[in-house]
């Protein structure tokens, strides 16, 4: 009996120790649980913004989310490098060593057939397609006319007093050499030539939008999910903000000299918005403003509107149509927009009257 009692007592002690151990384990488990909870909540993403000033002659802003600033800057830099690539490819004023770009094409295609990379080939096909689609209102072959206006504008900005308009004959002659069909693209051999030796390409109306779309797609490919790419006001929202809310974008008030005075805000979720305005690039002749967007119908700056803003999913399309709609009257433009479910637009006339397409801002 004595030994039994002793056995029981030792067992009793063991049970006590066992329960005690459980009681010990509880706070330890709680602490471990808290640590896991903390670890999960610290895989939090913060919002960052990076600016670049060296592409497309304008300010570029990338806004997105990442765990750290370093990670975000690395991702943004990849987008930046892509933008540099397109900036150089579409530059009609400078050449870059080893690169067959737009300036080279303008110099050589009149006499030769020039071999080009797939990237440039794709763009030229796109440009030709957009010209046809917009009935010539957005025409990348308008270079010979645009060059005349560019030269007069530069002179007029330098010396406002003696600013002049190009003469009509000059413009009409140049206008004879703006047929997109004279841009010959040989897909099979990857070659480009001009059937008209006076043809010149100027891609200002669609290059930014096209590049922004390409770079946005690239960003998605490298794993960026929610970001905003803004190249000189050409905006592409990828996804929503991290909290699921849409990106809020202001549209500049044409009447204000201040770029950040907004006349309307729109909410974007996986969408692009581009504005064409007469206040972006212009010069003044005898008190009247002449902007940089030239109407292919009469070779003079279009003055139907102070600005046209277009919303479309694809940034290249938004850029193309903001130029096209800027070059035509409201009735014509409205029909085009209403017939295309992918397009929404906002027109602001010279008198400040605003028209919206039926789905604008939805």
């Amino acid at each position: 009996m004595h030994t039994l009692f002793q056995n029981n007592r030792s067992m009793f002690m063991k049970e006590k120790i066992f329960v005690k151990r459980i009681l010990w384990a509880l706070p330890v488990l709680i602490v471990i649980g808290l640590l896991f909870w903390w670890k999960n909540s610290s895989v939090e993403e913060f919002r960052y913004t990076k600016e670049y000033y060296d592409v497309f002659d304008t300010v570029t802003t990338v806004t997105g989310y990442a765990e750290t600033e370093e990670i975000f800057y690395e991702e943004a830099e990849q987008l930046h490098l892509q933008l540099i690539k397109y900036h150089q490819l579409f530059d009609i004023y400078h050449t870059y060593e080893g690169l067959t770009n737009m300036k080279i094409l303008n110099e050589q295609c009149k006499t030769n057939t020039v071999k080009v990379d797939q990237e440039l080939l794709d763009f030229l096909i796109y440009g030709k397609k957009m010209c046809v689609e917009t009935n010539g209102e957005t025409n990348i072959a308008l270079g010979s006319v645009l060059k005349i206006w560019h030269d007069y504008r530069e002179e007029g900005i330098k010396d406002e007093v003696s600013a002049k308009l190009p003469n009509k004959i000059e413009l009409e002659n140049a206008g004879l050499h703006t047929d997109i069909e004279d841009l010959i693209i040989d897909l099979k051999n990857g070659e480009v030539s001009f059937q008209d030796s006076q043809l010149q390409l100027d891609v200002g109306g669609i290059a930014k939008g096209y590049s922004v779309e390409k770079v946005a797609q690239y960003g998605k490919k490298i794993g960026m999910t929610n970001f905003l790419l803004n190249v000189g006001g050409n905006i592409r929202a990828v996804g929503t903000k991290l909290d699921g809310k849409p990106w809020i974008i202001g549209i500049q008030d044409p009447a204000s000299k201040d770029q950040s005075e907004y006349i309307k805000t729109v909410e974007l979720n996986e969408m692009s918005v581009v504005t064409s305005g007469d206040y972006q690039r212009y010069y003044v002749v005898k008190g009247k403003k002449y902007c940089h967007i030239i109407d292919p119908d009469d070779w003079y700056p279009a003055n139907f509107f102070s600005s046209v803003s277009v919303i479309a999913r694809d940034s290249g399309k938004a850029d193309t149509y903001s130029t096209a709609l800027f070059n035509m009257d409201y009735t014509k433009g409205k029909k085009i927009v209403e017939d295309d479910p992918d397009l929404e637009a906002m027109w602001i006339t010279q008198n400040g009257i605003i028209y919206y397409s039926s789905g604008f801002g939805d």
């Binding site: 039994l4 009692f5 056995n7 029981n8 007592r9 067992m11 009793f12 049970e15 006590k16 329960v19 005690k20 009681l23 010990w24 509880l26 706070p27 330890v28 709680i30 602490v31 808290l34 640590l35 903390w38 610290s42 939090e44 913004t49 600016e51 000033y53 002659d57 304008t58 300010v59 802003t61 806004t63 900005i157 330098k158 905003l228 803004n230 000189g232 006001g233 050409n234 905006i235 903000k241 990106w247 809020i248 974008i249 202001g250 549209i251 500049q252 000299k257 201040d258 770029q259 950040s260 005075e261 907004y262 805000t265 918005v273 581009v274 504005t275 305005g277 972006q280 803003s309």
Partner: protein, 137 residues
């Protein structure tokens, strides 16, 4: 064959020290979690304007101190900024387009004034958040 007598008294007597230890472990765990959370929360800093030229930092100025700022130097400046009433704006610049001069005064987080010809950039840090994420122009 052994007979087991189950003790009637199963009450576990927790000594005071046991409780002290348990709560100590709990406390340390919660305390360290709290510290981590506080460190994560950004410390409240004052709004300031960060000025760069050609990508290089020129200086930062708190928005609470009214003053004139000459870039790059007072003797030989291309851009002149003014801070007053908690905002900063471009007072004068020698660039042809004057976009920077026409820009309204800025004070909100991330707002910027850019003089592209002179490569001068002014950005606000630690300001209150803007209403928009971007703008077309």
């Amino acid at each position: 064959m052994e007979l087991f007598i189950i003790p009637v008294d199963l009450e576990i007597k927790m000594k005071k020290n046991d409780w002290v230890l348990i709560f100590l472990v709990l406390f340390v765990g919660l305390f360290s979690y709290g510290i981590v959370k506080i460190v994560q929360i950004q410390s409240t800093k004052e709004p300031q304007a960060v000025i760069t030229q050609e990508g290089k930092l020129v200086a930062t100025y708190p928005l609470w101190e009214n003053q004139l700022i000459y870039i790059p130097t007072k003797e030989n400046w291309t851009n002149c900024l003014k801070i007053e009433n908690g905002v900063i704006y471009m007072l004068e610049a020698n660039c042809p387009d004057k976009i920077c001069v026409n820009h309204k005064p800025i004070s909100k987080n991330g707002e910027s004034i850019v003089c592209l010809p002179n490569k001068v950039v002014v950005i606000i840090e630690n300001g209150i958040e803007q209403e928009v994420d971007g703008g077309t122009y």
